[in-house]
Structure formats: structure tokens, C-alpha cells
């Protein structure tokens, strides 16, 4: 392994330069792994926030209902859907809802809202409604209502106050008015939810709208959030018909899907930029090393070293630097990632497309991030070395003798 010894000793000739080059590669690797973890963390938060707040991981509803949320488009025979949901082993929980736009009126104000009729026992298994309740006892009976705390502020009501809910009947010909008492305040985070949502009992909602046993929406939670986004979901195939549609969360919220795609694209672009910057540093370092050894290369060629050998030596030297950098970088990223995973990174609270990103983001570290980043860095470093390797391989041996004159 003389060539390996030669390569190793060559990179140790100028320890300062090699250290700086490795530092550059280590930095790129650590930043890449941590940024990837951070983006994965944000993605996880967005997906969890989306699927666990209200939307669920999948929804079953009457075709056309999601276009306008027309209360008249409800599932009037949901028993088959309930049976399918109960029979599916991948389904962890489900909840059915009645939803209608309505006007809430207090003594001081009126607000347009979306009213959800929910079964609290079912609902707390698919959404964060229970965690979101900031005060009050919750829905105890058919005359109770939960309001977003921002909505309560606008209506200038508090716990125990009465409000009137006005909505139209399903055929649109009559107004329905029901008196409710505020039994709880909730806060999901996004203002568009907390200013516009109200929850009443499922049975009360059905009675109010005279829709029998019907529902507008089934919200489903699976064993894994990725199940409903698979190309083929057995549950969906089973319940879909000319009347009924079923969709996973990515289809329901295409904007979030696009954002996740952009996030993935951003990871690749960021990675490329980082590694290209590192690559420029590596090229510079290798060229400096080659220029210092021009004469030596010429001599080795003069004594019969093939150009391929010289090129291979340069690539081997850069690979050794990459391996050293990967070893150091992976260890640093492992410990730093572990620390940030437990402590989180304070980036301030953000709201993106109605999804609240908490102020402390915890990166999501995974084995494949380390492997991919390390492989990416190694391959890119090797590719980066090809140009200087080609240059070194082309050095003419006559230069050696000219220099010796």
C-alpha cells in the first residue's frame, strides 16, 4: 500500500492547509446534517400540526362537499363507512363531524363562524381539541358550546355566557336559531382557527340541522401518517363511491404538500450550495498542493509513472481528506444534533399556512441523514478532485529536466 502511504504523507506535508480544508469539509458536513435535521423537524411539526389539529390524517366526505362546505352535502348513510373504519386494522381512531357555517350573536357582537358538531370521546382521539381547551369544563350537554378564545374576545363573552347560533336549514329555506351557553374556551394557535371555530355536541348539531344520523365528515387517524398518502389505500378503495370520496392529508392540503416538496428541494439546493462552496475550497487546496509539487510530478512521470497513477494519487489524497472530515464531522454532528434534539433551537414562533411552528424547533436526527451527507461529501470531494487530478496527470515530464538545468 505504498500509494496509500504516499497519499497520506502528501496530505500531511502542509498540515495547516490540510487542517483548513478538512475544517471546511467538516463545517459543510455538520451544517448539512443539522440543517437537514432541522428541516425534518419543521416538516414533522407541520405535518403533526396539520394532521393533529383538526384536519386528521384522512377525511371521508360526500363528493363536492369540500368545494363549498355546503351543509346540504352530507353523508346520509354513514353506517357502511363506520363499519369499514372499524374493520380496518391500520385505522387507530376516527371521528365523525357535522359542520355548518353559522352566525354567533352575543349581547354585544356577532361573528360568522364554522360550527363543528363533534362527539368529544371520538374527537379527542383524532384531534387536539382536548389539549387546546384553555378553560372551562368542555361539552357536557346538548346546550353547551366551545369557542376559540379569540372568537370569545370578539364576541365579548366568557365562560357561562349565553350566545345565539343562527344558521340556515339544510334546504336553505329557513333559519334555525339555537341558544347555547359557553362551556369552554379553546386555543389551537393559528388565529384563523381561534377566531372562527365553535364546537357543539354532535347529536345537538344533527338535531339542529335535522339530518338524522348523517355526518359531513369522517376524520381518520392511522398507525402511520404516511399511510393515507400511499398510492393505494385499501380503506379509501373500500369507501369511495359515486357519492363518497376519501382523501389523505396531502391531497386535502395540497399547499402543505407543495411546501414539503419545496422544503425537500430546499434541502437539496442548500446541500449543493454548501458542498459546492466546500468543493471550491478543496479544488483550491488541491491545486495549491499540485503547484507546489509540479516538479515532483514531472519527475515521477519522467521515471515512468503513468498519468493515470498521478491522477489516482490526487483523487486518493482528496478522498483521504474527505474520510478524515467525514469521521470528525459525523461525530460533531452526532453530539450537536443530540443536544439540539433534546434542547431545541429557539427561532421564534411562526405561522405558516395556518400551521403554527413553535418557538423551539427540535431537529429530527436520523441515521440516513449522516449516511447520505457523508456519502454526498465523499463523492463530491472525489469529483472535485478529478479536474486537478487531470491537470496533474497532464504535466509534461520535460518540465523536470528543464528545471534541473
Amino acid at each position: 500500500m505504498l500509494i496509500l502511504r504516499l497519499a497520506l504523507r502528501n496530505i500531511l506535508r502542509n498540515k495547516r492547509r490540510t487542517s483548513l480544508t478538512c475544517l471546511l469539509l467538516v463545517s459543510a458536513l455538520v451544517i448539512m446534517i443539522l440543517m437537514d435535521g432541522l428541516m425534518m423537524g419543521v416538516t414533522r411539526i407541520m405535518v403533526e400540526s396539520l394532521t393533529e389539529t383538526l384536519e386528521g390524517e384522512a377525511q371521508i366526505y360526500r363528493r363536492g362537499w369540500r368545494d363549498r362546505f355546503d351543509p346540504a352535502l352530507y353523508l346520509d348513510q354513514p353506517d357502511e363507512i363506520r363499519s369499514s373504519l372499524d374493520a380496518d386494522n391500520s385505522v387507530v381512531a376516527w371521528s365523525e363531524r357535522v359542520m355548518t357555517p353559522a352566525m354567533l350573536a352575543s349581547s354585544y357582537s356577532t361573528q360568522g363562524v364554522m360550527v363543528y358538531g363533534v362527539d368529544m370521546d371520538q374527537e379527542r382521539k383524532v384531534s387536539r381539541i382536548q389539549q387546546a381547551q384553555v378553560s372551562g369544563d368542555g361539552l357536557q350537554g346538548p346546550g353547551d358550546i366551545l369557542l376559540g378564545d379569540a372568537l370569545a374576545d370578539k364576541l365579548e363573552v366568557t365562560l357561562g355566557d349565553r350566545i345565539v347560533l343562527t344558521t340556515s336549514s339544510l334546504d336553505g329555506n329557513d333559519l334555525v336559531q339555537v341558544l347555547f351557553r359557553v362551556r369552554g374556551l379553546i386555543r389551537f394557535g393559528p388565529s384563523e382557527l381561534d377566531e372562527r371555530l365553535a364546537f357543539i355536541d354532535l347529536v345537538a348539531a344533527r338535531q339542529m340541522l335535522e339530518m338524522g344520523d348523517g355526518s359531513h365528515q369522517f376524520v381518520v387517524r392511522f398507525e402511520d401518517a404516511s399511510i393515507p398518502n400511499a398510492p393505494l389505500v385499501l380503506l379509501f378503495e373500500k369507501v369511495r363511491s359515486e357519492v363518497v370520496d376519501a382523501q389523505g392529508w396531502l391531497s386535502i392540503q395540497p399547499a402543505i404538500g407543495a411546501m414539503l416538496e419545496m422544503s425537500n428541494f430546499g434541502r437539496i439546493v442548500l446541500g449543493l450550495i454548501l458542498f459546492l462552496l466546500a468543493a471550491l475550497g478543496v479544488v483550491n487546496s488541491i491545486f495549491m498542493s499540485i503547484y507546489e509539487r509540479l516538479y515532483e510530478f514531472a519527475v515521477t512521470k519522467a521515471i515512468g509513472t503513468r498519468p493515470f497513477w498521478i491522477g489516482r494519487l490526487i483523487v486518493l489524497e482528496s478522498l483521504l481528506m474527505a474520510f478524515i472530515s467525514v469521521a470528525i464531522g459525523v461525530v460533531i454532528a452526532y453530539f450537536l444534533g443530540g443536544y439540539l434534539e433534546s434542547e431545541g433551537l429557539n427561532m421564534g414562533q411562526m405561522e405558516v399556512s395556518g400551521v403554527v411552528i413553535p418557538d423551539r424547533i427540535k431537529p429530527q436526527m436520523a441515521f440516513n441523514q449522516f449516511v447520505e451527507a457523508a456519502a454526498f461529501l465523499t463523492v463530491l470531494t472525489m469529483l472535485t478532485a478529478l479536474y486537478p487530478a487531470l491537470y496533474a496527470a497532464k504535466i509534461t515530464p520535460a518540465e523536470a529536466v528543464k528545471r534541473s538545468l
Partner: protein
Amino acid sequence: MSQKTVIRAERVSRRFGKDAAEVVAVDQVSFSLMQGEFAALVGPSGSGKSTLLNLVGGLDDADDGRIELAGRDLASLSASEKSDFRRDHIGFIFQSYNLIPVLSAAENIEYIMLIQGVKGAERRRRVDEMLEIVGLSGLGHRRPAEMSGGQQQRVAVARAMASNPEIILADEPTANLDSKTGIALLETMRKLNESEGVTFLFSTHDQKIIDRAKRLIWLEDGRIMGDERAQTL
């Protein structure tokens, strides 16, 4: 000693520059070198001796003429074939030693055999043998920076010998050495010539080499002005 021709140069020319700035470094030079010769290209600076050595060693291409080394026309070889040819048939010794600084003396000698594809055990045996021949037994572990100029040039000789070449081309090998060290090195090379039958061709204006060469080819302005053999010197 065999009478096999190692080098045959026929009307070889090499020019540098263009038009008015053109310089004819080697001008219609013809000569032959037989196996076992200990010859020197001699002449003042700028006489074309190093250029001729480069051409003979396949490090540079002639503009005109034909050079045969070990029976092969150098012009017919591709760049890679020339590399292989130099590796297997020619040993080079340069003025400034030109050892690989990060390799030990033994590794420098081993390197040439490594690129020849010689197996590890044979390489190590040859390294020990070469170090002994050049009088550096026990110093194989030293790096060039830990050796004197004379010792480094001995390593260069050992490296040139290690590949079992048919000819060793030495460009001013004693120029950077003091007189005593230079003489000692030349004696080593002469012994190798006599005992191993290795052909040497020097490019020099060092009197020590001129005194010991068995043949002197005098160059001036790129032309051969004289070709003297030992008995006439």
C-alpha cells in the same frame, strides 16, 4: 561486453521558438551508444546536451530525425507507451536528486518497482540489494531531508538501477555535490557499469565526469563537434 546498440540517433533536430526567435537546440545530430558504454555528452551551457538527453530519454519529441532506444522508435510510442518504456528501459538521475520527499530512501527505490508491478517480497529484496550496492545499507528508513546531498544522489542512483534499465541517463548528477562526494558517487556508478554492465549516458560539463567517462560526445551549438573514445582520450 556485448555490442548491442542501446541508442541510435539519426539526424535528430529540436527547435524552440518560431520565426526570428527560433533557436535550434539540437541540429542534425547522429550517434549510437552500445550496451555497457559509460559515455558523456559534453559541452558548454546552451550547447544542447540536456535537450539531446531529453530527446533520447523520450521526455521530449524531436522535430526531425529518428531515435531508437532498445530497438524501439520513440516517435512510434504513445504518451502512455512512452511512460511504460521509460519505466522499463531507462533510469533517470537528475541534478537535484528529485526524490519524493515524503517517502523514505527505501520507499523511493521501491516506488519505481511498484509502478512496474513487481511483487512486494521481490521489491523489498531488490531495495536491500540496491541500498547495499550504493553503500546506504541501514539508511533505508531515512527520508531525503534527513540525508546529505551525496546520500540522496546515491538513492537516486539506486532508484534508477532498481528497475533493471538498459540505460541510465544522468543529467549533471554531480552538479550539486562537493568534489569528494561527487567522486565517490561517480566511482559507484562506474562500478555498476563495470560489474552490472549498465549503460550510462551523462550530460555534463563537470571535469570529474569528463575524466572518468569512457566516451565523450562533444556538443556545441546543437551539433556534435567531436566523439572520442577512452583509448583516444
